[in-house]
Amino acid sequence: MTDLPPLRVALVGNPNCGKTAIFNQLTGSRQKVANYAGVTVERKAGRLVTPAGRRVQVLDLPGTYSLAATSPDEAVTRDVCRGVYKGEPAPDLLVSVVAATNLRLHLRFMLELRQLGRPMIVVLNMIDAIRKQGLTIDIPRLQAELGVPVVSAVGIKRGGCQNILAALDAPAPTPPTPLPEGTDLHAEVRRLLALCVARTTERTQLFEDKLDRWVLHPVWGMLILFVLLFIMFQAVFSWAQPFMDMLDNGMKSLGDHVGALLPDGVLRSLVVDGIIAGAGTVIVFLPQILILFLWILALEESGYLPRAAFMLDKLMASAGLSGRSFIPLLSSFACAVPGIMSTRTIQNPRDRMVTIMIAPLMTCSARLPVYALLIGAFIPARHIAGLFNLQGLVLFGLYAAGILSALVVARVLKRRATTDEHPLLLELPNYRLPGLQSLSIELWQRARIFLSRVGTIIVTLSVLMWALSSFPAPPAGATGPAIDYSLAGRIGHLMLPFFQFIGFNWQICVALIPGLAAREVAVSALATVYSVGASEADAASQLAPLLSAQWSLATAFSLLAWYVYAPQCFSTLAVIRRETGSWRLVWISTAYLFGMAYAASFLAYHITRLISG
């Protein structure tokens, strides 16, 4: 390895040209990649050593169509390329990534970069896809015309970046001579295309074009979107059940074994009632979360999501938002944190603020365990018309309630504002069959994230919850249940006067507090509180039947309604603070979500009581 300082390289290009896929290939990172524009909103850095032993630091920059930035993420790319990014020297080499499948658009930005007069190489990514389109690119000719090295790559294939590594090992290219001031870059692109691109087979109507006629159809397209989402929620309940039963039985046996091994006392209570009851109850929901993500990831990779954004543009416009808000809102179904971060792609500051405010209304995956527990406990697992799973229908309804509420809130927040957001210009990527390997890796990542949350956040909170539920011990001669005298019992009873109007009991009140750290902790907290207070030994593993026996249907619906709107977790609040740079929006969003949660629970509780008598 050489002792030279590392070569600083920046990957620059249009959105969805495959920069992050190349970055991951080069550095061995696992940054998020998807088949749509706007996934990377921050600069990311990684390191690599070339085959010749040269150390390289690689920057992955957000995609942009031009150096005239119009949104915060594009400004990062502009500043880094121009060498004015705070605390970041100008890169030694610009790697202009160009999607070979979209040269007309991407070469224009490459020429704009070339005008900076910095050393650069051009990477023609997705070179395999262009062959399928019946086109060939004369790479030596393009290199001669541009005056910079041009190499081909396939960013999503293992070993697809060898040419880039070879180019990094070659002597540094001389900076290109900028084109004369006032050159029409579009005309220059047309000239390059005429010189360097040739069609080898006749253009026929592609399968993609045929598919888009249906997928982008105003009626059929909406129907396809609705059916896809509907099947997704049905699958969450129908497919996951056998795996959930397996995990449930595993947790029960673990509790029994550990209970039999440890001597009676506080340690056994901590392990069985605190850790296994708390964390074990949440782990059971892993299959449902993975099935939900399997759908989302498959839709992401297929290239369908930008088409869904296109279809929903009109709906978003009716709420005063543009389709640009779709991707941040969609990301929020996984977690509001990356969703809020990806609002950086929104140019209009007011639209950005409104999207940040409504992002927490999208049902994040942390809410799924709460929904699944209550639906499993209170909604019978029967089929309607022999086709639709009732539990899946209720889950679909809860997600729909969040989405509709978000649109209503956006409409209210923007009722007086005149929007000057640019009209939605969306690049529709090519359809791609989701790769089994990449899906498996992404799912494994999701499982790891979930299990690491269980191992840290949920286990530690379960332990604290157990301590609060177990101490102090009841005074001598006390007649009530021991947990009533504990700190948790006292806190719960203190909160009860405020929450009893929406049907909550003191156990739910206590579970709401750790639920602020992460929403799924509410499930583990309920399991711990009921386990510590239960007389039956297996209460820990039987939370659902225990709840259905002790709660009314009205209380269950009230808690479900609460979690549609429930105030955000601490991480979401922290990221709102960071993205907006002030506490004002943090307080406003906390207050309005709390108010909506209380009002929705109040209505759900009293209407259900009225109907069920």
Partner: protein, 78 residues
């Protein structure tokens, strides 16, 4: 008695974990003391480096806990 001590230690560790997440500045004196102790005893260099990092106000991980280092240069979020 051993059980109570063990349980007390586990509960304290969990409380420390949450204090570090919610109010990292409150934990700085503890990390500083630990780093000093480990430096004096020349023990556990890995833990000492970590304690020294956490003893600085900017050393705490600002991420959401779902993944490693959302804000870190090499990190990624979800």
């Amino acid at each position: 008695m051993t059980q109570i001590l063990l349980v007390g230690l586990v509960v304290l560790l969990c409380a420390g974990y949450w204090l570090q997440r919610l109010a990292p500045s409150a934990m700085i004196p503890l990390w500083r003391a630990l780093a000093g102790l480990l430096a004096a005893t020349q023990a556990l260099p890995g833990l000492r480096t970590k304690a020294e990092r956490l003893a600085t106000p900017s050393g705490a991980n600002p991420g959401c806990g779902g993944c490693k280092g959302c804000d870190d240069k090499s990190g990624g979020c979800h």
